[in-house]
């Protein structure tokens, strides 16, 4: 059995929660508003490093650094949003992907600020004491649940309906007098800042930051989870992460006993399965494994 309060379990569950939050935020961006953001790791990573730098290099107080880091991500998201939100989906995809690559590259080159590949650390937990990691986990839990609840409420709200309308037919929405550009931009800034917030909170989870964390793997994991779980559904991110990351990186890792020669095959097999699943889901269940669970009010 696993001691749920062990350092291992707390660390793993914290990571899973962050992914759930990211996937839900992506549901809002893509599933609800139709924004194709392949730069998830860019916002997450920027938040993580901004927080680490403000806390460790500039010695700012903990929560000041946190808020400032999120503000920085929001600013960057605003600028990027202004550039990419008007592009067609494919261009948006590669532009946001390029953005994430720029972030990863700059974190590597600006060693004077980020310590580069040697790593930035040690980022402490928000509250000290023996249960500091547990407190962090609880904060993440509360915030993640908050994101999911927000997603649910938003989907049924007038603003949510507007976003869905923009997603389905932006020209029509604009002709009906809605300021679609502004709505999308504000929403994109907000949700990307959310990704930055969870990035900032990931800094104390990991405690030691390195640029290899900012590779495209995080973005792809989140996308796969969302597609499998159902992009249109506020709980799609949660379900998707449970079925992919939780099963492989937590359950199988913890409970499955395999001889070492086979153990190395598992991560490779996992990634291959992710790919196959993605293909199958998109071909046969484009709305996610549970089928079409669209909110009734998002039709136009």
């Amino acid at each position: 059995m696993i001691d749920l309060l062990s350092g291992y379990a707390i660390f793993s569950l914290s990571t899973v929660l962050v992914f759930v939050a990211l996937a839900t935020l992506l549901h809002l961006q893509f599933g609800l508003a139709g924004i194709v953001n392949f730069g998830v790791v860019g916002f997450w990573g920027l938040g993580m490093y901004a927080f680490g730098i403000l806390l460790l290099n500039f010695q700012l107080p903990y929560f000041v650094a946190l808020i400032l880091a999120v503000a920085i991500v929001a600013l960057v998201a605003f600028v990027l949003g202004w550039v990419v939100l008007d592009l067609d989906s494919q261009a948006q995809l590669v532009a946001t992907l390029a953005f994430a690559a720029v972030i990863a590259d700059l974190v590597t080159t600006e060693k004077w600020l980020t310590k580069g590949v040697v790593g930035l650390g040690t980022v402490p937990h928000p509250f000290g004491g023996a249960q500091s990691a547990l407190w962090l986990l609880l904060i993440l839990l509360v915030l993640t649940v908050g994101v999911i609840v927000y997603a649910r409420l938003l989907g049924r709200s007038p603003f949510g309906r507007l976003l869905a309308a923009i997603r389905d037919n932006e020209v029509l929405a604009r002709n009906l007098g809605k300021d679609t550009s502004r709505a999308k931009l504000i929403f994109f800034t907000l949700t990307s800042a959310g990704m930055g917030l969870f990035g900032a909170l990931s800094a104390p989870v990991r405690q030691f930051l390195t640029p290899d964390l900012l590779g495209p793997g995080v973005t792809f994991s989140v996308w796969i989870a969302l597609i499998v779980g159902g992009k249109r559904w506020p709980l799609g991110g949660l379900l998707g992460v449970l079925l992919t990351i939780f099963v492989f990186d937590f359950l199988i890792e913890t409970y499955l006993r395999v001889p070492s020669d086979w153990a190395q095959i598992i991560p490779i097999l996992k990634l291959m399965l992710y790919g196959v699943t993605l293909v199958l889901v998109l071909l046969f269940r484009p709305f996610g494994l549970l089928g079409d669970r669209r909110q009734p009010t998002s039709h136009l």
């Binding site: 060693k111 913890t254 991560p267």
Partner: protein, 420 residues
């Protein structure tokens, strides 16, 4: 009656079986932070095999009568921190073996665990990258199986100078260990009075470094020092030959992997003024003779030549760990830490293998383990001595030692402060 006798017999057999089993059922658990995926993934089988080889020999006469049971775990995908936590908390390992570059991210938790639970012991062949002030104490029972990476980098600069270089360019890939080595080499070069014309950072996993090599060449260096993996180094030397360059190249131990000559091609290597690799060599002692014979006769011999530094370091490290457990009389890491220097340094009877060492300890003698990698003496913070040498490739499958490098001079160089 028949049935009763049979069941009696079975019960007796079971009892006897369990009595024998319980001695074997209490193994010393060793959690190995190995790597099978990610950029260092191809090292996994080598590291696992070299460790199993040493453990096999140890288990012929295990410390405290308890055989060592190894759990090889890949951290390439999940990260060192998560896997370390799993090994220590879930598997309950007594020894956490081979902490590496990301140690800092879980160090606080690990040391807290050691303070509370008396385990795990933390021997590591890769801790040469960790701060020199960390380790060697009961509070932090971390002992290294190699000299500091910074010393190794200083040795490269030292050898460059001994080959007559006065103007150098230092290239390093964007990798934590390589970058730190680069800093150390720059400092060492300056202390030695050499001119560092440029330090160039290259990206990993590229198919060509021609521009970077061209840039290095345009500065007219006597030698180009490179800190990179084997394949990157191979491409660099290959690119240099393509450009018609003939320069002195010095690389670090990763270049002793066959990926280096196979990527570079011997043609390109031979076109250069010299391609030397500065790494660790074995001692000239009964330790080496014994080890070499055992390794080459084992199932693991195909994983590396006997002189491969990782193989030798892992062998010595595990021997020392087991001997110190026996000397401490317990697997408690805090007690173990107190006996490491006792078994590896004078005074004591010099022993050149684990088998010799354990026999002497069980006979109540004090020992001084002399390893394959050198006299195996430790500093106060858990840094072990080693022997530096230069090597070069003769063919895609064979390298040879070309010179020994003065270890004392290297250590002085490493300890020297950065000149103004």
């Amino acid at each position: 009656m028949q049935k009763l006798l049979t069941s009696f017999g079975v019960a007796a057999a079971l009892l006897a079986g369990t009595a024998i089993a319980s001695a074997e059922e209490n193994p010393i658990k060793l959690g190995h932070l190995s790597v099978h995926t990610g950029p260092y993934g191809h090292f996994g089988p080598h590291f696992d095999g070299a460790s199993d080889f040493a453990i096999g020999l140890i288990n012929e006469n295990p410390p405290l009568g308890r055989p060592i049971q190894a759990f090889h775990q890949d951290w390439g995908t999940l990260g060192e921190g998560q896997v370390a936590r799993r090994l220590v908390e879930q598997e309950g390992v007594d020894i956490l073996y081979n902490i590496s570059h990301n140690y800092e991210s879980y160090r606080d938790w690990l040391l807290g665990f050691v303070a509370q639970n008396g385990r795990p012991a933390i021997p590591s062949v890769f801790a040469g990258s960790q701060r020199v002030e960390w380790g060697g104490t009961p509070e932090e029972p971390m002992f290294r199986g190699s000299p500091m990476d910074t010393a190794q980098a200083a040795a490269v600069a030292q050898h460059a100078q001994s080959l007559g270089a006065t103007r150098v360019v230092i290239i390093a890939s964007e990798d934590s260990g390589m970058q730190m080595s680069q800093d150390s080499a720059i400092k060492a070069a300056k202390v030695l009075g050499m001119e560092v014309l440029a330090d160039i950072d290259i990206q990993t996993e590229q198919t060509s470094y021609r521009s970077e090599v061209a840039r290095a060449n345009s500065l007219n260096p006597d030698a180009i020092l490179v800190f990179s993996q084997a394949e990157e180094g191979g491409i660099i030397v290959k690119n240099a030959a393509e450009m018609g360059m003939s320069v002195l190249f010095l690389g670090e131990p990763n270049w002793l992997a066959e990926e280096f000559p196979r990527t570079a091609t011997m043609g390109a290597i031979n076109r250069q003024k010299g391609v030397y690799i500065v790494g660790y060599t074995h001692s000239d002692s009964p330790a080496w003779d014994y080890f070499k014979e055992k390794w080459e006769a084992s199932d693991y011999a195909r994983l590396s030549p006997a002189g491969d530094s990782y193989t030798m370091q892992m062998y010595d490290m595990l021997n020392m760990t087991a001997l110190a457990i026996e000397a401490a009389g317990t697997t408690d890491a805090r007690e173990w830490a107190n006996h490491v220097r006792e078994v590896s340094m004078a005074p004591g009877k010099k022993v050149y293998s684990y088998a010799e060492g354990i026999a002497a300890l069980k006979a109540g003698e004090d020992i001084d383990y002399e390893g394959v990698t050198g006299s195996y003496d430790y500093t106060d913070t858990g840094v072990v001595s080693g022997q530096f040498a230069a090597f070069s490739w003769n063919s895609p499958s064979e390298w040879e030692q070309t010179a020994l490098i003065d270890g004392t001079a290297v250590l002085e160089l490493d300890a020297a402060p950065m000149p103004e």
